[in-house]
Symmetry: C3
Subunit: 461 residues, 3 copies
């Protein structure tokens, strides 16, 4: 009588310890797939259906009964029918009283109904214990067993016991339950599978907008200006040259935007003298999408690297090289090596490659399986220290590349700076302010504030 822990079940022959029967309402794709998986895991399954004479797709070992008879056989009923038919359940209210109803439904649109399907079900059947679960798993994934997409099952319910029972089933099916709290969370859980990269929305819109702007900026300066004033048609720059000017600019700016909110946060904390007040909303949102910004920056950097490495293959470049060498040969001259140029060209290439290398390292450590295997201090070391090193290398790469043209008036077509000059504004600002922030006289109060010290403690009440 006192062997209560789950590790020390009595081995005496007891039939009560067998897995409990589960009832599934509805014989659609998902109901069948779930039933199949449950039978595999040792649960007796009984289907509740309008017609008990159903297709041969139902798992062999399952029983098929009418709704009421099926419900009576089990303590847990999986409601695998669409929300529109939930009202068919109201006549069964008495049978379902005290039972656990698992709502697995999904909608077609975000916030399609005023309340979540699970809450609607709970209103219809106030005597039952409604649990929201399984809606993020697809029938195909259950059936094929190759759970390529998420293994996570979000579970929420008002009744803790009922939730625990469902989470145990989830675990027995080889999936990972994640407790999301009370049934209020059902709305969020139902919206989850309808979302399409919600965290990526703002970063993608931002980078798309910026890229379009820089593309037309370059088009104006490199193609249209050249066409008007030099009468050269370089329209084919649209395919390769201009993208490869926009990519590095985007990569550098987006990388700087990853570290800018941290700078703002530090300044705000220093100004307020406390860390116990919320940041403005825009800063909070910005900080939450830093990873996405960084990965988009990495994508642009990758494109820049491959485009640059491929440039010797361009017929334009090989034409330009031939012409340069032929005219040298026709002038009977070989040129001496320009040492300054050799230094500059080798340096900016080396800086750029090293910057890209650390950028890729940052990308790899942001893979979920890698970041799950490092401790907190290591994660912060990589994302902060290596991140700033990457930013410094990439900024230096851009500066060495374009340095000689800063003071050259011919670089300013239509009095506009070249885009690599524009791209340096944000990263340089970030690096300068960061440098000020790590000076001991600024760093010390900031560290104290982050450890909980407050200049005017009244704020925190």
């Amino acid at each position: 009588m006192n062997t209560n822990s789950s590790n020390t079940m009595a081995l005496a022959p007891s039939t009560s310890n067998k897995r409990e029967t589960v009832c599934i309402f509805g014989t659609g794709d998902f109901g069948r797939a779930l039933g199949h998986r449950m039978i595999q895991s040792g649960y007796p399954v009984v289907y509740g259906s309008r017609s008990t004479q159903i297709s041969n797709l139902i798992p062999k070992d399952a029983e098929v009964l009418g709704h009421a008879e099926a419900a009576q056989k089990a303590a847990i009923i999986i409601v695998a029918i669409p929300r529109q038919h939930y009202n068919f359940l109201t006549p069964l209210a008495e049978v379902l009283r005290g039972k656990v109803l698992v709502d697995i439904s999904n909608n077609l649109k975000l916030n399609q109904y005023p309340e979540s399907n699970a809450e609607y079900l709970a209103q219809l059947l106030p005597g039952s214990k409604v649990v929201k679960a399984f809606n993020t798993v697809s029938a195909w994934a259950l059936q094929s067993g190759t759970l390529d997409a998420s293994r996570q099952v979000f579970v929420c319910a008002d009744d803790v016991e009922a939730k625990q029972m469902v989470m145990d089933i989830v675990r027995a099916l080889g999936l990972t339950p994640l407790d999301k709290g009370s049934l209020l969370a059902a709305q969020e859980i139902e919206n989850y599978p309808l979302q399409l990269f919600p965290m990526w929305k703002f970063p993608i819109i931002l980078s798309f907008g910026l890229a379009i702007f820089f593309f037309f900026y370059c088009l104006a300066l490199d193609v249209i200006h050249t066409y008007i004033y030099e009468n050269n048609n370089f329209s084919f720059f649209i395919a390769f040259t201009i993208p490869n000017r926009v990519f590095p600019v985007m990569a550098l700016i987006l990388l700087a935007l990853v570290y800018l909110p941290g700078i703002f946060a530090a300044i705000i904390q220093l100004y307020r003298g406390t860390k116990y007040r919320r940041f403005p909303d825009w800063l909070d949102k910005w900080m939450l999408c830093r990873k996405q910004l960084g990965l988009i920056a990495l994508a642009f950097a990758f494109l820049h690297v491959v485009f640059t490495l491929a440039s010797p293959l361009r017929s334009f470049v090989s034409w330009r090289t031939s012409n340069r060498i032929v005219s040298q040969a026709l002038n009977n001259q070989t040129q001496p090596l320009d040492h300054t140029n050799a230094w500059l060209s080798d340096s900016y290439l080396a800086l750029g490659i090293l910057g890209f290398f650390f950028f890729v390292l940052l990308g790899i450590t942001s893979l979920p399986s890698v970041s799950n295997n490092v401790n907190w201090r290591e994660f912060r070391f990589v994302q902060s220290k290596l991140g700033y090193l990457t930013l410094i290398l990439c900024t230096a790469h851009t500066m060495v590349y374009g340095g000689k043209w800063f003071l050259n008036p011919s670089a300013y077509k239509w009095y506009l700076p070249n885009i690599y000059m524009l791209s340096l504004v944000v990263p340089c600002a970030v690096l300068v302010v960061k440098f000020v922030l790590i000076l001991p006289c600024v760093d010390k109060p900031l560290t104290q504030i982050r450890q909980g010290w407050e200049r005017n403690p009244k704020y925190s009440e």
Copy 2:
């Protein structure tokens, strides 16, 4: 008496709640490693051995007894002895009655015996409850603690309780149990660690065969034909040029083969008017190895990219460039820029790089840890939408690259087309049929069928 849940164990001093003693038969590598780990996790361990005077490699805190005495001390006995010695256990049948026997054995070959080791053990000792587990974990992994390879432990048994007990132990050791159902699954579980990438077999054989074919096809056209008709010895093309012609062709064809079965499936469903009939077997198998086909295609694309980027470093290319420029110089001429050529060359490079970029993106999202963190809709968006975008970009890359030669008779040596023309057949067919399938008049019935609608419902009975 009513605090039964695993969260609310009584804190009153009870000795019964301690972890139960586990007995291990056999003191080989795996038995010792498992015992060590169990002691670390708080289980008292007793070894059953022929000689109780055993080496100092046995964990210090473990007891060593004769088989019968050891078995009497525990409810769970881990059978860490080879299958050949299982019959030594029959005299112990009485002692082992009602106990849980964990079969951890592995064979040396696939399907070495008619029945699985676990089922054989269950036949020998019908009074015991046999559970298959732990056979996929290596002694080395248990000992070193660095579980680089799988943490998953497949468990199966006919007795649900016994299975639950073993799964609890698995969890306590920091491993992840995966319930595979009844003891019938033991054969599969025993075969699992003997498999060498079973899902990769067909894709690798297919791509190997195709690659060999295309290699000799190229060899004939580029080396042998040139040698016979132009008397040029280009045998060194074998090392670089021909591989770099075969790689992109393989990448494009394999990528198209990833999307071809989906096309077939749609046509079959449209033709049958229902989704409730099984696809032909070959189609099912093909669909299951799409991920592997895609990853092999990515490998070929990667090789193509690096080979292409490295081509300016070849001594043949630098010789060809020098000769071209020198003869230009000797003719005292500089050439004007060929704008069409510049457009074509820049476009096919840009298309190819973008195609490769999205291909890499597809590869990254197929990493298990990434695909576990996206929901089903996001996974399908990436694998379907981005996949087709990749296919379109790569097909366009090939078309722009070779477009000008299609109508050029000199491109048809021995009346055979160049391999990039062959490579376009499958992807173009896939893209054309896909285009037809997304026309509203075709897409609408297909979507209905996929939502469960049937043209002739009698089929599904």
Copy 3:
């Protein structure tokens, strides 16, 4: 009375099955974040604090009481106060008797105190059951819910029941508990979050030292020697040429060092005639950091590849090419193709690219999420067979690249070999010895030894 298992909780209305109240001592960042998360997961939370009139940052649904009153309400008390204040708890010893105290503290330095904080707490309050847990999770991670860094919670305790209770809470919070055994492990658990890539320390120091050595070696031969004897200033080689000579040398040597300890181990086992004696300590440590060595080698290989691919973009290379072609043109000559050179150049490029390809494959399979999805045999196949293939390809790449200079006296400036010759020593030694080890006459006894056979069994006692 007999529905004890966690799967089959009674559904009868019982209030006793609700989640148990948890008490948290301390209202700092971590205490608040943990309380918040627990409330989300359905635990009633009560805070113990000196002043019950506390800031509005405390979760709304939590109660705040004095320490003694709060402790009385719960069976589990989370001690979220710094070690320096632990002695404040001694007056509460009577209230805390029999309760589970969860020590979540971290230190600022490795081994800051003679005993771990958890053991110190257990000494102060011998009547309580101390469990070490949660110290590896950050308050920020708990709050934001985005557990980018580790989800693993290391748990240790002397009392098995208390540990089980805490592990159940950990699981309910959506984290993964990992049982580390008795409270003796607390020291290790407390040191864990203070570590910064401990396994990487030796490989990084080694490769840093080697890289510095090779850098100065190259500097002497390529820059200083050229400056002294040929009066050429090639100082700009420091930025690009010399790094790109050091990178491949480092990659090759480090890759060989991954396979060297396995060779040593085999020789030692053959010599001793048994596998049951410990390897020397240095060999054990070396074998444990093979993965890190391999990944650093991959980083160097990646840098070498990108540097090499970028070299046509260098202004030095384009100057050298121009001058070569111009002088050819001025001499009115076009050169015939050197077939041997074409073969050599194409072969070493192809070998290098294939080597890099397999190297990247090795790197990808060492990602935790990938290696978790392969069985032990597949993991060993990739890491051993593909690893040796990579080593063979990279060694052949270096040999073909530099082969022609081995017998050329001008390659030995100051009678010193070029660094690629040095780089071949270790990989060639590894490959030769490995070749000997797989000869049947050597492989057979080695396999026997690895299966447990001993030449002189007395050793093992």
